[in-house]
C-alpha cells in the first residue's frame, strides 16, 4: 500500500439516473483514490457508469435526470459533493479540469480559440486582456499546435479534430489544474491522431506533474498510458490494480473476457473468445454479482449477494472465486473503503 496522501479520494459514490422504470443506480458505491502525479485508467463499456463517475466528481451530472445520492469526493480536505455551487465552480477548471470525447462540445463555435482560452484565464486567474492572450499563445504552443499565432484567431470549426482536442487540452491546462479528468479523449480521433494526442497527454502529465483520470473503453489506451487501472461494470468497480498486473493476470472474469475478446493487430489470433450476452442497461441489474448472467464461472453463490471488492496489496477484485476473496489480511481496510456512506 502506498503511504502517500491521495489528492482525490472518492468514497461510496452513488449516482442515480431517471429512467422509464424509475431511478436506477448508474454509479453504485464507487470508491477509489487518486495519487498526485499518477495516471489512473477507468475502463468499461458503454453504460458502465464511467462518465457518470467523472461528472459526479465535478458536480456536473445532468439535472434533473440524474442525482448523486451518496458518497463523498475528498479533494484537498474538502468534500466536493457538499461544496456550494459557487465554490465548486472555483474548483472546477482551476483545480480539476475535464476534457471530453467530442472537443466540439466544450468549444463555443462563435468565439475564436484564443478568446476562449483567454476568457478562462481572465475569470479564474484575473489576468488582463493582454496577459491572457499571451498566456493563451503559450498554451497553444505547449500543446503542440503549429503556427499558434495564426490559430489563436481561428474558430473551432476551422480546425481539424486533432487540433480541436489539442485546444481543449490547452483550455483545460490554462489554470494549471492538479487533476485532469479525460473522458475518452481520443475516441473520436483516427489512430495516427490518437497517437499524437496520447503522446501529448503523456508529455504534459510528466512535465506538469498532473494527476490524470483517463476514462476510456479502449484497453489498449489504458495499457499504454495508465499506471493503475479501475475496471467498471454495470456501475461498480469490479477490479483494481497496477496496469502491468491487470494485463498480465486479470482476476475478474469480466476483465479476462474483455482481454480475450480483443483482436490484436500484432498477433495472429485463431479464435476470439467473446463474453456472451449483452452489456446491461441501467435498471436491468439483478440480485447478486452483476456479471454473473454473462460469467462462465458463475455458480450459485454468485447470484446470492453482490461481492464486495476483496483487496490485497495494490490489487482488488469483486469476485468470490478470486484468490483474494479468501484472504483476510488488509481486507478490513478494504471493507471500510467500500462500505456505503449514507448521507
Amino acid at each position: 500500500m502506498r503511504t502517500e496522501t491521495p489528492i482525490l479520494a472518492v468514497r461510496g459514490l452513488t449516482t442515480e439516473l431517471a429512467t422509464e422504470i424509475g431511478w436506477c443506480r448508474v454509479v453504485d458505491d464507487v470508491s477509489f483514490v487518486l495519487y498526485p502525479g499518477e495516471v489512473l485508467g477507468l475502463v468499461g463499456e458503454s453504460g458502465c457508469g464511467k462518465t457518470m463517475t467523472a461528472l459526479s466528481i465535478l458536480g456536473l451530472v445532468p439535472q434533473p435526470q440524474a442525482r448523486v445520492t451518496a458518497g463523498e469526493v475528498l479533494f484537498e480536505g474538502r468534500d466536493l459533493l457538499r461544496l456550494p455551487e459557487r465554490e465548486l465552480r472555483r474548483v472546477r477548471g482551476k483545480e480539476i479540469a475535464m476534457i471530453f470525447q467530442e472537443p466540439m462540445t466544450s468549444l463555443n463555435p462563435v468565439f475564436t480559440v484564443g478568446d476562449q482560452i483567454a476568457e478562462t484565464l481572465r475569470v479564474h486567474e484575473g489576468l488582463s486582456r493582454r496577459a491572457a492572450r499571451a498566456r493563451a499563445l503559450e498554451l497553444l504552443r505547449l500543446v503542440g499546435i503549429p503556427a499558434p499565432e495564426e490559430r489563436l484567431d481561428c474558430y473551432p470549426h476551422e480546425l481539424s479534430g486533432g487540433m480541436r482536442q489539442r485546444v481543449t487540452i490547452a483550455m483545460a491546462l490554462s489554470c494549471s489544474p492538479k487533476v485532469l479528468l479525460a473522458d475518452e479523449p481520443t475516441t473520436a480521433l483516427d489512430v495516427t491522431i490518437q497517437a499524437q494526442i496520447l503522446d501529448l497527454l503523456e508529455r504534459l502529465q510528466a512535465e506538469l506533474g498532473l494527476a490524470v483520470i483517463l476514462i476510456t473503453h479502449d484497453l489498449g489506451v489504458v495499457a499504454e498510458f495508465a499506471r493503475r487501472v479501475l475496471v467498471m461494470y454495470a456501475g461498480r468497480i469490479v477490479e483494481e490494480g497496477p496496469v502491468a498486473d491487470i494485463f498480465a493476470e486479470p482476476l475478474h472474469p469480466y476483465t479476462q473476457g474483455l482481454l480475450a475478446s480483443l483482436p490484436d493487430p500484432r498477433a495472429e489470433i485463431v479464435r476470439l473468445e467473446p463474453i456472451p450476452g449483452n452489456v446491461p442497461v441501467p435498471g436491468e441489474i439483478r440480485r447478486g454479482c452483476r456479471f454473473a448472467p454473462r460469467c462462465r464461472f458463475a455458480r450459485s453463490g454468485c447470484r446470492d449477494a453482490d461481492p464486495p471488492l476483496f483487496r490485497r496489496d495494490a490489487r482488488a477484485v469483486a469476485c468470490i472465486r478470486s484468490p483474494l476473496a479468501g484472504a483476510p489480511g488488509p481486507g478490513a481496510e478494504a471493507a471500510e473503503a467500500t462500505a456505503p456512506v449514507m448521507p
Binding site: 422509464e20 450476452g277 448472467p293
Partner: protein, 298 residues
C-alpha cells in the same frame, strides 16, 4: 456452439418488456399533463360539434325579436344575440362548422403537403423548383394570402377550406421535406436500395412512415390555425355566409353591440379560444412524446 450459447443469453430479455415498450407512447401521453388538458378541451368541443343537434333545443336561426339581448342565465344558457337567436345553439352549430373546416383543411393540407415534401426531399432534382414555389407562397402573410384566395374564389365554406389548405400547404411541405432529408440518409434506406427496392417502396414503406411523427404534430397545429383563420375569414365575410352560424361571423355581428351585450362576441370568442388552446396543448404534448429529436435522453 458459441453462437448457441450467446443466443440463449439473448433470449433472457424479459417478455413483458415488449408489452411495456409498446404501451409506452400512450402511457407517456397520458402522463403528459398539458396533453391531457388539451385533449379534454378538444374532446369537449368535438362532443358539442358531433352531438350539436341533440344538445340544442332551439333552432340556431330562429329569430325572436322579443328575446333579443338576453344575457346568459337560466332562461338562455349563453344568452341571445341582437335577433334574439340562442347563442348556445349558434355556438354549437358553429363548432360543427369550425371543426368540419378544420378537418377539411387538415386533410387537403396533409395530402398535398406530404406529397410535395416527399418529392422535394427525396428527388433532389425537384427540390429546387418545388421549394422555391413553396417559398413564394410563404413570402405572403398567411392571412392576407388566405383572404386574397378566398376573395378570388368567392365566399363560402368550401372556398374557405381551399384557401386555407393552399396557404398552409407550404408549411407542411417544409416539415415533411426536412424529415425526408434526415430519413433518406439513414442506413436502412440505403439497405433498401442495396437489396434492389424501387423508389415507390422506399418512399412509402420506409421514408413516409418515419416522417409521420413530426407531420402529425404539425397537422394538429394546422388544425388550430385553420379554425382560427376560418373565423377571421368569416369575420370578414369570406367564410360561411350568414345566417349560417360560424364563430367568425358571430363575432363580426356582435361587434356593434360589444358595449351593451358583450356576451354576443365573448361566447364565440371563448369557444374559439378553447378550441385553439386545446389543439395547441395537444400538439405540444404529441411533439414532446413523438418527436424523437426532443425526446429526453434515456
Amino acid at each position: 456452439m458459441a453462437v448457441r450459447a450467446e443466443a440463449a443469453v439473448a433470449d433472457r430479455a424479459p417478455a413483458e418488456e415488449t408489452v411495456r415498450r409498446r404501451a409506452t407512447v400512450a402511457r407517456r401521453l397520458l402522463r403528459h399533463r398539458l396533453f391531457v388538458v388539451g385533449a379534454l378541451l378538444f374532446a369537449c368541443v368535438l362532443t358539442v360539434a358531433l352531438f350539436a343537434d341533440l344538445l340544442i333545443a332551439v333552432d340556431p336561426n330562429r329569430i325572436s325579436i322579443r328575446n333579443k339581448f338576453k344575457p346568459p342565465g337560466s332562461e338562455w344558457l349563453l344568452g341571445t344575440d341582437n335577433f334574439g337567436r340562442s347563442l348556445w345553439s349558434r355556438v354549437a352549430k358553429g363548432a360543427q362548422l369550425s371543426l368540419a373546416i378544420g378537418f377539411g383543411v387538415v386533410l387537403l393540407n396533409a395530402f398535398f403537403g406530404t406529397l410535395i415534401g416527399l418529392l422535394a426531399g427525396y428527388f433532389r432534382v425537384l427540390d429546387d423548383i418545388l421549394m422555391r414555389i413553396m417559398d413564394a407562397f410563404m413570402a405572403f402573410p398567411v392571412i392576407l394570402l388566405a383572404i386574397g384566395i378566398a376573395a378570388a374564389l368567392g365566399p363560402g365554406s368550401v372556398n374557405a377550406v381551399i384557401a386555407l389548405a393552399v396557404v398552409y400547404t407550404p408549411r407542411t411541405a417544409r416539415i415533411v421535406r426536412a424529415s425526408v432529408l434526415v430519413v433518406r440518409e439513414q442506413a436502412y434506406v440505403e439497405a433498401a436500395r442495396a437489396m434492389g427496392a424501387g423508389h415507390a417502396r422506399i418512399l412509402f414503406r420506409h421514408v413516409l412512415p418515419n416522417c409521420l411523427a413530426p407531420l402529425i404534430v404539425q397537422l394538429t397545429f394546422i388544425f388550430a390555425y385553420a379554425v382560427l383563420s376560418e373565423a377571421v375569414l368569416s369575420f370578414l365575410g369570406l367564410g360561411a355566409e350568414p345566417p349560417t352560424p360560424s364563430w367568425g361571423n358571430m363575432i363580426a355581428e356582435g361587434r356593434q353591440y360589444i358595449r351593451e351585450a358583450p356576451w354576443i362576441t365573448l361566447v364565440p370568442g371563448f369557444a374559439l379560444a378553447i378550441t385553439v388552446l386545446g389543439l395547441n396543448l395537444l400538439g405540444d404534448g404529441l411533439r414532446d412524446v413523438l418527436d424523437p429529436r426532443l425526446k429526453v435522453q434515456q
